[in-house]
Structure formats: C-alpha cells, structure tokens
Symmetry: C2
Amino acid sequence: MKEVAVGIDIGGTNTSFGIVDREGNILAEDSIKTNGSGDIVSYLEKLSQNINKRLSSLNINSNLKGIGIGAPNGNYYNGTIEHAPNLIWKGIIPFVKMFEKHFPDIPISLTNDANAAAIGEMVYGAAKNIKNFITITLGTGLGGGVVANGRLVYGHDGFAGELGHIIIKRKGRKCGCGRRGCLETYVSATGIKRTVMELLSNETVESELRKINFKNLNAKMITDAAKKGDKIALKAYEMTGEIFGYALADLVAILSPEVIYLFGGLANAGDFLFKPVRKNFDKYLLPIFKNKVKILPSGLQGKNVAVLGASALVWQELNKNTGL
Amino acid sequence: MKEVAVGIDIGGTNTSFGIVDREGNILAEDSIKTNGSGDIVSYLEKLSQNINKRLSSLNINSNLKGIGIGAPNGNYYNGTIEHAPNLIWKGIIPFVKMFEKHFPDIPISLTNDANAAAIGEMVYGAAKNIKNFITITLGTGLGGGVVANGRLVYGHDGFAGELGHIIIKRKGRKCGCGRRGCLETYVSATGIKRTVMELLSNETVESELRKINFKNLNAKMITDAAKKGDKIALKAYEMTGEIFGYALADLVAILSPEVIYLFGGLANAGDFLFKPVRKNFDKYLLPIFKNKVKILPSGLQGKNVAVLGASALVWQELNKNTGL
C-alpha cells in the first residue's frame, strides 16, 4: 500500500492538484477552474469529486495520508483564506472546515502558496538538510518563505514571509496593497515590465520592446530580447538585480540564512537575473556575512512547485505529529 | 539548595556579572575592567576569582547551574567572540573554551548582547508566553533579537538579528560597519545625536543644543531639552520615530511578531520616541497586519538587562536539554 498525499494549488484562474508520494513523484494530476461556478460550495463539490476520481483511477493501492493546500492569503493557523485580492471569494473563507465535509477522516492543512513552496524545498528539494533558508517565488508578485531553526516561520498571525511587501523605496511605485515602493513592484514579472516602461521613457536607445504594449509584454519577452542584446532589456535586468541584491542583503542581516532559493518565471532568466543580483548582494552585504550565503535556483525549478509544496505540507504535519 | 546562574555582560569598558536565581533576582553582582590588564589570560583569571568570591560570600547554600555570557559579536554556535570592534581582543577569541578551564564542570554558553536581552525577556520578562517577538536594544548602536516559533533565531552562522544594519537609506549616513545608511546611524543614542547635528545645520530656530558639542551631547540631554519644548530636540525625536516606524513595519512583513519590545537608553524617552514610532509604524504597516502588533517597553526596562539576559541563557539551555 503506497502512502500518498494530495497537493492542491489554488490560483485566481485554475485550481491544480496532484497525488504525490513521499519522494515527490506526482502520480496523477488534474485541474479545475477556480471560478467555474462562482459559488464555493459547488466548487468544493467538484474539486473533491475530481480528486476522488483520480485517486481511484491510480493503478496502485494507495493510502491517502492527508491533503495540503496552497492558497493566496492562506492562513496556516486557522485554515482560512483571508481577503485574497485575486480570488472571487471575498472576506474570510473557512476553507479547511468546509473541505473537511468532503474528506471527514483525512487531515487537511492549508498555507499560503509561497510558504508551501518553502516546505516543498525542505521536503523534496535542495533544502533537505538545511535549517535556515529563505525561498523567494518570482511570479506576478514576489512571495517569500522563511525557515529558521528547521521550521517555517508563520509568525504570530500566520502571515509572516510577506517579503514582496518590504518597502524598498519610500514614495516609490504604487503597489496592489495600497502602499508605495514595495519590493514586488520592482522585483517580479510585473516589476520588470514596469522597469522596462520606465527605461523606455527615460532612454532614447532603440529596442524591440518599444513595439509591445504594457498589457502584452511579459517577462519571457524581456528575457528573449536580452538574449539578443537588446539594451533596454539588459538594463532592466541590471536594475532588477540591483534592487533585489540589496533587499536580499538586508534579509541576511535579519535572518542569516545559509541559502536563498529563487524560483518562478523570472528565475528562469538565469544569469541575466542571477549575475546582477549576486554582484549587488555582495556589494551591500554586511561584512560578517561575506562569502557565507548562497543564492541558488530552487531544487524544484521546472517542476510543479505549487502542487508539490502543498503536498509537502502533509508529510511535514505527519512528521511533526510523530515527533520526527 | 538554591539553584543559581551567573550572567556576564562584556562591554568595551566594563565586564559586569551577577548571580541570578530562576526568578530573575540578582543575588549578588560586581564588575571588573574589561581592559584592566590588556591580556585576556589574566582578565579571565581575575573574572573567575571575582565570581568565585561572590558565590562563596552568598549567605545561602547555592548550586551553580551554569554561566551565560553576553558579548558584542558573540557567536552562540562556536562560543567565540569574533572581530568585536569595541573590544581590545582582536580576531576570533575562543572565549568559552578558555573560560572553561576556570569552571571545568559548569556548562558555559555565550551569545551576543542583543540576543541575550531577547532571551532575558523570554525567561524573566514580558514575553514569557509569547512565541513570536522581536527585541530591540537602543544603546550606542541598535541591537536586535528575533524569536520565532518560541526559539531565538541565530541563523546559519550565529549572527542573525543584526537589525541595526538593515540599510534604511541608500547612500545615507556612514556606519561603523563600513557601509552607509544602516538603521543604527539614525535610530540609536548616536543616531539621534547625528540627527540633532543635521537639524542644527538645516534649521535656524534657537535651541539649547546649539551650545553643546557633538562629543559632549548625549541622548538624555536631547530628552531633557524635548521636555522643555526645545524645537530641535522635539523634531529630532520625530525624525527618529519616523525612520524607526517604517523599519519596524518592514520587519513585521517579514516576521509577523506579536510584540516588539524596545529597551536601552533611548527607550527611556517614553512618548517622545514611542508616539512618532507608533504613528509611522501604523502608517507604513501592510494592511493585513493592522492592529495586530504591539510596540512596548521591555518588561526588564530599568533592570540590569545585560546581566539578566546572559544569565537567562543558562536556564534556557537547561530547559532545552531536559526537553521543557
């Protein structure tokens, strides 16, 4: 009988899930529309039916040990999703409580997507034996997961690790959170788009990016342009790397991690991002930390990190309960 | 037989120590010059003689359970003092190892002074039941201690919590660490002196602080002037509080503490400091954390925090070993 966990990743458009073993192999996966019906009761109904269908179609004898969920603004302590701006369900949703009706005997845990990614790194990825590290997800926004003394830092209310909302520039760019100058307005797929627009306005140099409007522009186009030597694209990565590098130096002064793992779309830009990040990180780092901290791509890069991370929560809860 | 711990606080000028019970009562205390002989071997000799003298003069039957040491740049993992700029011993000093010769059967632990203060808050102070908090010591510099999931965050190399060296202003004031714009160049006893000088240069308003030179000026004089309504002193506290408030808001996004405790000389300024700190903290805080985080004076304020904190390390190590 093979022990499996279900990992669920709730996104604004799609909800993906996977059935995952202890080694991080995804044995089956599927997805449904998050806002297919608009109504959370029928959404949960459909999601649980799909999970059960996939579980019973596995051609192995499986033993479901738990369900882990990663959701924007997910609260680990309460099992709630709270005021998530990109989801259609408003207010505070008691997600775990509602979902338990469909899986009454199965332990269910929930956290935010960035924390789930950090747990995935710990359980299946590159951080198996690392007690102090930070993971940073560079997607539409910037999400963070902080691990100290071998445990994820949820903080008092379950919302620690909001690294995208460190204010890096007083009176800087407007952020979705209502404030100005947050790190993710500079360092994220959206952030680098904004940097390209700023450069197109400040500089006169020719660039293929001048033909693309803001809505259509994406991080991959900027990386592709950089590969061809486009000056605006190259400069945009330089600027992103500079701001990111000094933000990471500050995080090290606070947390002294052994490794900082980067993943998500922007981390795929490779040296275009990592080179200026590492250069500025070294420049701004407090001398006592020099040459002690690695900045690496995630060990799960290229895999379905969100689903894996959510499923990893299950194994971590089990280990916690058995004192491992 | 009363169980006691020795707490030692190593400062640039004096080394203070106390014999402390589990409740945080200092039963005896004394101090020696840190640089009295210049030579660490005779310093340790003298320190241990003084401790033994005080122990034997206690009019109770005592059982020494351990020695805790707080030192600038103290490394908990290695028991070393590393490149402390304000101490006469240069390089890496294997302090615990050297001191063990004088107390061969007694457990000895060492950490930096700011971490010791956080542990003191946890063991004897206001944070006895609080699992996620930050302590900030406002002395000549700014020291920090971070507690997450009920444990002090030392980080990978033992130097986490260097909150005074978060860069708050790119290209800002020169810091003792060699970089520019560190938080402690604005928020500390020295920081507010620098702010007074900046204001005296920028403003024309009369102030009693115009008669005091930089060397002679101290934080107490600034507080005294503020009490009398001195505009420069009041404005200096406003500016300190603004920078401090937004730095704390950033820390909350990362760590989500329940309480931030302030202590040290500058925290004695009361509302002159706390009011602008809280106002700006609320202004810059990420909305999801609003009204969730308290900024309070330390529960040990007014006591010998450094000695108490160092002694608290002993009880914490004992609890760890017995699994409490």
